[in-house]
């Protein structure tokens, strides 16, 4: 009689034959099988940032792909590498997702050299999202510094599409120089059609520029925060969080109504590689969107 240990073929598990759905986290699936996607448009924004419109090739996978504002995807260029990028488009857009990418490393450098039509892979969506449902009926304060406007574009689209659900929407946006302001071409539309109050400020205005010069917290002088009825969403470089959140706390905003989106190194997006470890948890699972109370309990989060 044979003593061969029975062979278990994981591929025969029913869930393994389906299209991976990263929203169904507990299901066994091909976790490394990305959705083949085509870059359908590349929009240069500044000298270092480009906006990529990416469309999942398979109609069924495209239909199933659903995300909420604040979530991110792992974007893979086979042979080059994989990077976490937050989604910067409307969650109701089923045709493509927009990813705004700064040329900063090996993979992003290569992405900047690509032409429309290139096939890339995306896995996701991963991570937590901004609590758009909880914010219904409230004013929202969206505060972005530099590249931080990118993940905030998704909640802005959401708010615009559900405009009557929300109260006053204020967008505060700070950049280093006027030339580094991203999506400025959309501000007029957001103001006139959706009635968003958009305040911008730059650190170095340069010669002859109209508008404010200073740092992001200077903009707090121009607004009144109704602390009983406001949610705040903050995203920007690490140094910005502390000052902005301190200011918001001082104005009486409860910490559980302040949300930040953090950034760390990631290799998997699924809580396995440990690279995005922040305090006692992982940015990819419990983040990137954290409320400020949680952040205060995570060592060295900001």
């Amino acid at each position: 009689m044979s003593l061969k240990i029975p062979r278990y073929d994981i591929n025969l598990e029913p869930s393994m034959s389906k299209h991976p759905d990263f929203n169904r986290k507990s299901i066994l699936m091909h976790t490394q099988s990305g959705f083949k996607s085509e870059i359908i448009a590349i929009v240069p924004l500044t000298a270092h940032e480009k906006l990529f419109h990416i469309r999942i090739c398979d109609p069924c996978e495209r239909e199933n792909f659903a995300f909420l504002p604040g979530q991110f995807v792992m974007l893979e260029l086979p042979g080059c590498g994989e990077v976490p990028i937050s989604i910067s488009s409307s969650s109701s857009n089923k045709e493509f997702i927009a990813l705004c990418i700064r040329k900063v490393g090996k993979v992003t450098g290569m992405l900047h050299r690509l032409k429309p039509g290139t096939i890339v892979g995306i896995r996701g969506p991963f991570g937590t999202h901004f609590p758009m449902e909880k914010m219904v009926g409230h004013n929202i304060l969206l505060i972005a510094g530099g590249l931080g406007i990118v993940p905030l574009r998704s909640p802005i689209y959401w708010v615009n599409e559900h405009r009557s659900d929300y109260g006053d929407i204020t967008v505060m946006y700070g950049a280093k120089e006027p030339g580094q302001i991203l999506f400025g071409y959309q501000f007029e539309e957001w103001r006139r059609i959706y009635g968003l109050n958009i305040l911008t400020i730059v650190q170095n205005a340069g010669k002859g520029r109209q508008g404010k010069e200073g740092i992001i917290t200077d903009l707090f002088d121009d607004i009144d925060i109704d602390s009983d009825n406001t949610f705040a969403v903050v995203c920007g470089p690490p140094v910005m969080f502390k000052f902005v959140c301190a200011h918001l706390s001082k104005s009486g905003l409860p910490r559980q109504r302040m949300f930040v989106s953090l950034e760390r190194r990631m290799h998997c997006g699924m809580g396995k590689c440990c690279r995005c470890n922040v305090g006692s948890t992982f940015t990819c699972l419990d983040g990137p969107v954290f409320d400020y109370w949680t952040v205060m309990n995570l060592k060295e989060a900001i």
């Binding site: 009689m1 044979s2 003593l3 061969k4 240990i5 029975p6 062979r7 278990y8 073929d9 994981i10 591929n11 393994m16 990263f22 986290k25 507990s26 299901i27 066994l28 699936m29 091909h30 976790t31 490394q32 099988s33 990305g34 083949k36 893979e76 086979p78 042979g79 080059c80 590498g81 994989e82 990077v83 900063v104 490393g105 090996k106 993979v107 992003t108 290139t118 096939i119 892979g121 690490p238 950034e263 760390r264 190194r265 290799h267 998997c268 699924m270 809580g271 396995k272 590689c273 440990c274 690279r275 470890n277 305090g279 006692s280 948890t281 699972l285 060592k299 060295e300």
Partner: protein, 347 residues
């Protein structure tokens, strides 16, 4: 749980029969250390004689049969119209003989992350389900502190667990496969005498633990002593080599690298085990390092093991095998670091 006894001769026959049709891994003497003592590793066995049933501690843990140091996650065929991805999971069965209770507990902890948590890892899952585990009891070494970590006994996570009770092995059986195999080699029902011997061995093992580490208040202590000088003291010694993570039975963090063929026809996505002590562990594109100092990285290694993992899974990640303490070139071991932390608390 069901129990049986098997004689040494029959055990030998069983292992040899298993070896004929399966890949069998077990502790093998690989080299000698400076004192002339054997250094053991879990390796493929070619004969029963290679199996060291009396081995002390394997230098690295058998986790690498579930989480290999390097592993190809996907292979890409690149062509004019784009690329195609090919993914393979390990599905050939394997037997591992001689795993200690701590190593089995380590696997149970890895199961929590890799199989039972969000996004079950198919690569790990396939290996785990295709591995038959035969555990083996032993008397603790001088520096084993698995008892403090509640990892000195295993009740599940294995197929068969053997305890040497003199002329026979006392076998705890945890799977049908193991039960069938065992019965084929004339395993006997447990007698009153066997039970008595088994309990005696168990209490002897229990009495031999010399090293103790107090971890009851450790999760809180990790936060309270976050700025402690203890981290600086040990962090300054740390060489940031990552040896501790390589030999650890529970460390699972990794990195991904992608390689492309010189003729651009093939690419591969490769996973390699990493260590949170390595310099660029938390470096993001653009060069910012969230943990630039060795003491901060060392602190987070402990923080994950005794705080982060406890928060997520209600147990510490460490199983108390002290392999990291043995492998560390700077003499850093969990026992001394934790004792130091508790001492500062007392002051």
């Amino acid at each position: 749980m069901l129990f049986k006894t098997i004689t040494r001769e029959n055990f030998k026959k069983m292992v040899e029969a298993l070896m004929e049709e399966n890949e069998v891994i077990g502790p093998k003497a690989r080299d000698l250390d400076t004192e002339g003592k054997k250094i053991y590793r879990f390796l493929k066995l070619n004969s029963f004689e290679e199996l060291e049933m009396d081995y002390t501690r394997s230098y690295s843990s058998p986790k690498n049969y579930f989480l290999p140091f390097k592993e190809d996650l996907a292979v890409y065929d690149l062509h004019d119209k784009g690329w195609d991805q090919d993914i393979h999971y390990t599905i050939h069965p394997r037997v591992i003989i001689g795993m200690r209770a701590c190593d089995i507990n380590a696997l149970l902890k890895l199961d929590q992350v890799m199989a039972k948590s969000v996004y079950p890892d198919p690569y790990y899952f396939a290996r785990r389900r295709n591995t038959l585990i035969i555990g083996l009891d032993h008397e603790p070494l001088e520096d084993c502190f698995c008892r403090s970590m509640n990892a000195d006994t295993a009740f599940h996570g294995f197929d068969l667990f053997l305890t040497d009770i003199g002329k026979d092995y006392f076998a705890a059986i945890n799977s049908d496969t193991a039960y069938m195999i065992l019965n084929r080699f004339d395993a006997k029902d447990v007698t009153k005498e066997d039970q008595f011997l088994y309990k005696k061995v168990k209490s002897r093992i229990e009495s031999k633990f010399k090293t103790q580490v107090t971890i009851t208040i450790l999760p809180e202590l990790m936060d309270l002593e976050f700025e402690s000088e203890v981290w600086k003291k040990w962090g300054d010694k740390c060489l940031s080599c990552g040896s501790c993570a390589m030999v650890c039975p529970t460390c699972y963090c990794y990195g991904i690298e992608e390689d492309i063929d010189l003729d651009f026809s093939m690419a591969v996505k490769r996973k390699f085990l990493y260590s949170c002590n390595l310099l660029d562990f938390a470096t993001v594109a653009g060069g910012h390092n969230f943990r630039p100092r060795a003491d901060v990285r060392l602190k987070y290694r402990y923080y994950h093991q005794f705080r982060g993992f406890v928060e997520a899974f209600n147990q510490s990640l460490c199983v108390g095998c002290n392999r990291c303490g043995k492998a560390c070139l700077a003499g850093i071991s969990p026992k001394v670091v934790i004792d130091d932390l508790i001492e500062t608390e007392k002051r």
